[in-house]
Structure formats: C-alpha cells, structure tokens
Symmetry: C2
Subunit: 188 residues, 2 copies
Amino acid sequence: MTKKEKLLHQSLKLIHEKGFKATTIRDIAASMDCDVANVYNFIDSKQGLLESHLFSINEEFHLRFDEINNSSFEPIEKIKRIVGIYIDLTFAKPYQASLLVNEWRHLKEPKLSRFIKEREKFEIKVKKLIKQGIKDGSIRKVDVDIATYTLLSSVRWLFNKVASGNLKVNRIEVEKQLLDFVLCGLTV
Amino acid sequence: MTKKEKLLHQSLKLIHEKGFKATTIRDIAASMDCDVANVYNFIDSKQGLLESHLFSINEEFHLRFDEINNSSFEPIEKIKRIVGIYIDLTFAKPYQASLLVNEWRHLKEPKLSRFIKEREKFEIKVKKLIKQGIKDGSIRKVDVDIATYTLLSSVRWLFNKVASGNLKVNRIEVEKQLLDFVLCGLTV
DNA sequence: GTCTATAATTCGATAGAC
DNA sequence: GTCTATCGAATTATAGAC
C-alpha cells in the first residue's frame, strides 16, 4: 500500500468514526504515523479530501443504479437489484457508505448543492419505480413518499455493522433477509 | 418564550442542521440575537448543552418504551405501540430525535459510555420481543439481529422530513403506512 | 518525502464595566 | 442580563531547511 492509499484508507476510517468536523489533520497524520505537514504532500485540503471521498462513492453508486434503472426489468425486480447493489457496495466499502449517509452535509457550495440535487434525482427515480409497480399491480397501494423513504432508510444500518465487524451473518444471508423484509412491506 | 427557552430551541435547530461540531457558540448567539458572552448566562458549556438535550429526549423515550415493554401485551402489539411512540415523539420533537440519531457520538466520557450502554440495553429488549414473537408463532422465522436493525432503521428518516416541513401526510397516516410496511416485513 | 517552525484563523470561554 | 474586549487553545495550512 502506498502512502497515499494509506492516507485515504485511514482518513475514511477516522471520518466514519468521529465525523468529518471532529477529525483533524493531526488525527490523520497520527494514524499514518507521520507529521501534519506530510499530509499535504498527498491532499490539497481537508475539504478536498471529503469531496473526493464523497463523489467517488456517489458516482459509483449512481452508475450502477442507472444500469439497473435503465434496463427493461419489471419495477419490482429493479427494486430487488437496487437493494442488492446497495448491499454489495456496503460490504465492499462500508466507510464510504457511512460518509454518503452522514458526512455529505459538510460539503461546501457549490458542491453541496450538486450533491443534494443528485440525491433528489435519485429519490425521484425510486419513487417512479414504486409508482410503476403500483400501476402494474405488483406493489400495494402505498403512499409513494413514505414507502420510498422507508425503503431507503431500512438498509441504512448495514454500513455501521459491517464497518465495526459486528455482523454475524454473511452478505448472502443479509441480502436474503433484507429483501424478505422490504419486499413483504411493499408487494401485494 | 424566555431567553433560555429561545436558546434551547435555536440551538436544537442549529445542531440538527449543521451538526454539533459545526455549530458554534457564535452561531447560537446570532440566532437568538445577542452576544456570545450572553449565551453563558444560560449554559455552563457547549458540551453541557449537548448533554442536556440528549439525555432529556433519551430518558423520555426510554420511559415510554419501558411502559409498553413491561405491559402484558403480546410481542407484536408491543412492537406496534413502540413504533407508535417513536412516531409520536418524532412529530412532537423532531430536532431532539435528530440529535438522538446523529449527535450522541459527540458526548464525552463517561456520558458517552452511559449513552451507548442504554442504547444497547434498548436494542436487546427489542431483540427479545422479536424472539418471543417467533417463539409464539406471530413473527416469521427471521434473523433476529437483521430484523431488529432493519425495523429500528426503517423509521429513522421521519425526523428529517418533519423538521424540514417536507412531509405531505399527517401523523395518523404516517403511522398507518409505516406499520403496514414493517409489520408485513415481520409477521407470518 | 520528511521534519521544524510558524502564520492565520477560528473557537470556547471569561473578565469586568455598565 | 448585556456589552466590549480578550485570553488561551486548537486547527488548517504553508514556508523552508534537509
């Protein structure tokens, strides 16, 4: 692992544990066993570090989301696979998933607005999927907003357990159990 | 509203919006239109302010939770009512609910450990309810850990929508739709 | 790339007059 | 209770020698 990779990994872990604002450059330097000044050999600023972490994982998720969303699968099958993507990504990159949930609000303008807009677009796409499912009869007549927020929220505990290593069951079983739960809450 | 009440209200709102670490005493002073020094007429320290906010809402929730949990209702009925309490409290005090979810990690020892222990006790009680439900046949044979975290997580979006005023439906309808969702995910 | 030193700023908190 | 003024600590970031 290069020094830069170590910096990226350790800073991710620290920001997940303490939050972006509470994580200092000194913390990051100590975690990679070097001086504060050295950190700036690899990053331009603390703010830039947050931005690169956030937009890297954000882009990866949205790319994979759009692959599914633009396919010709039925709405309910799309939702299944989107939950699958989220679980995949969370198991592969739990710290990044944590930042995506908790730390985006520390972005500064104009990046903050860009992030919020992209998230809103994503939420609208999910709402559209649920609407289509209701229309074709595969999804119960739920309130679209509530169902969307509940669906998205219900998987948002996972990164914490994966990051802390406190999860007893494996990825496949998590996917099975989570899909049972949310599909049962949605389908007719 | 007294000045102290205004301080408590404005600081809650700011901490919800920006996070505890990013909220400065100067922010709080500006929001109540007074000087920085004045803030200290009403609070001892910024840390103490967080503690009083957090333990006040935490105690209120756990008291009401234990009322239900110590009753002789069936497990599934207890779970219904616990979701009801959470929704009640979130509609009544959305900013406090936000702190309970996002800002507890900025507590310092020994209050931090106390908070974490109380939350763990609470989670164990919920897990026990689900286990009982599985035993008496009212709940599907789910993985207890996954079901507990998913259940608790699925209602955790609500405070954000209530706090921002972006919720179109009323409290009763939220409760109906949320219960439909999570009970369908749990029950046989 | 690594270190020492330090600039520049921000923040929590207090002193003391009114 | 309210203000001005300021202290002391922490923090991001840079300069410059090696």
